[in-house]
Amino acid sequence: MLKVGLTGNIGSGKSTVARIFETLGVPVYHADEEAKKFLKEKKIQIAIKKKFGDSVFSGSTIDRKKLASAVFGDKDAMAFLNSLIHPGVREDLKVWFDHHVQYSYVIQEAAILFESGFYREFDKIITVAAPVELAIQRVMHRDGTGKEEIEKRMHHQWALDRKIELSQYVIYNDEDHLVIPQVLAIHNELSK
């Protein structure tokens, strides 16, 4: 079983590509979604409250937007948060891999696969690429986030060229290329 990482910058359309793979019957682990589940764990909530205080909470639950703002641009805070979440996610992923050994390949979708250094754990990497302006427009429409805020978040991600260099496959999700044929080509190759 091949372990395939699926990543791409913000607004590139990773989730859409992941859904196409899922439709083709490929198991997909959504790391970001799974990580959110860990924020509900009591011991993690206590650690976060100790570090960031009540300001990142809405009532008894962690407000992800407030938490994201608190760690944004603060390397130490980000490292602290990752140290809380990532071990749990990795452990969960390991179990998930074990459950899917019968498949020729499985995919993990993650936004910061390269930035976290987790990409080394995978046999193949697929990067979803989209022009910056198009990606900004998508996020603005999707989340209602301002352009400046998106650009700041993009600034903290690796440059697309660097990601493409370290990837075995690139899916161009722009206005000029059809996505599904690109996904099918990769799927056919990985299914051999």
Partner: protein, 329 residues
């Protein structure tokens, strides 16, 4: 020899100067008198001129409309002294000749009615106003030929030509209502048969921020002057409301039951305008968006159609307009 005064002083003497001045005056006086006499002789000569009187037709025969007139002027070719002619042509008032058509004798030919009106009586009246003998005037034409057609009427739709400019957030909450939305067009059959609709005149309404009624004149088609609209104006009712922009995501369905189609994305985002009072009424169930897959003509992308949406909203955009798809076997 004794030198004269000019040789002595270098100037002509006063007596000589007066004499030559008198001679010049007499010469010019004679010239003016002879020119005047020549002019009078010239005016007394007999000459010809044409004086034209415009014709105005009044009181069309009942239910008939004038579709063709051979002449719109009566010309009097007058032979008379120049002085009289100048007076007649340039100094006398020429009022249009009114011809009453209410009792005109008509000859029918199918839908067409013709009348030939002799100009003899009219010209006699005109000549009587002048101090010119009858035999010195030739009148053209001798007959005025007119063609009439029965008036017909049809009901046609009114198309408003309004340029509307709304204040920010204001929009029409209902389609434009035209009162009446159909008008009767009356005129020659041949002309009105070509009229399918009547447009209003162009009217600009700016800074619209409330409902209002606009009265607009109907605009007759070019080359249809004989045509009348009843009524001549219509009221256009603008029902205006304050709108807000909103969005909703709805799933895309494939109506072709025989094929399992999965679209990417699976949902489509609808951006729309809605009045503030209807804002809370919007529900996802009010919308249906679909794609149609054709086995015969498969395409790379499928167009998203918005099959159903609430009548009280205005669609601004559908994103994406086309989606990629997989056929699930």
């Amino acid at each position: 020899m004794k030198p004269d005064h000019e040789q002595v002083t270098g100037k002509p003497d006063d007596a000589g100067r007066d004499k030559s001045g008198n001679r010049l005056f007499v010469f010019f006086l004679c010239l003016v008198i002879s020119a005047f006499i020549w002019f009078l002789i010239l005016l007394s000569n007999e000459r010809n001129t044409i004086i034209e009187y415009p014709i105005v037709f009044e009181n069309n025969p009942g239910n008939l409309v004038l579709i063709n007139k051979s002449d719109s002027l009566i010309s009097l070719n007058i032979s008379s002294g120049s002085l009289e002619l100048i007076t007649l042509k340039y100094l006398s008032r020429r009022t249009p000749v009114k011809i009453d058509l209410s009792n005109v004798k008509l000859t029918r030919d199918g839908n067409l009615f013709t009348a030939a009106i002799p100009t003899y009586d009219i010209s006699r009246k005109l000549i009587s106003r002048m101090s010119v003998p009858d035999d010195r005037v030739a009148v053209t034409p001798e007959f005025i030929t007119l063609e009439f057609e029965s008036i017909s009427g049809i009901r046609v739709k009114v198309i408003p030509k309004l340029i509307l400019e709304f204040d920010k957030q204001f929009q029409l909450s209902k389609d434009l209502q035209i009162m009446p939305d159909c008008v009767t067009v009356v005129g020659p059959q041949e002309v009105i048969n070509k009229i399918e609709f009547i447009e209003t005149t162009r009217k600009e309404v700016r800074k619209i921020n409330q409902s209002q009624t606009v009265n607009v004149l109907l605009s007759l088609p070019e080359n249809a002057k004989e045509v009348k609209c009843i009524p001549e104006t219509v009221n256009v009712i603008l029902t205006v409301d304050k709108f807000t922009e909103s969005e909703i995501e709805i799933p895309i369905i494939c109506t072709d039951a025989g094929t399992g189609i999965k679209t990417f994305p699976e949902k489509v985002k609808i951006t729309y305008f809605v009045t503030l009072e209807n804002y809370k009424r919007i529900d996802e169930k009010m919308f249906i968006a679909n794609v149609i897959y054709s086995k015969e003509q498969p395409s790379e992308k499928l167009k998203v159609n918005l099959l159903q949406y609430p009548s009280f909203i205005k669609i601004i955009k559908i994103e994406p307009e086309e989606v990629e798809y997989l056929i699930i076997k």
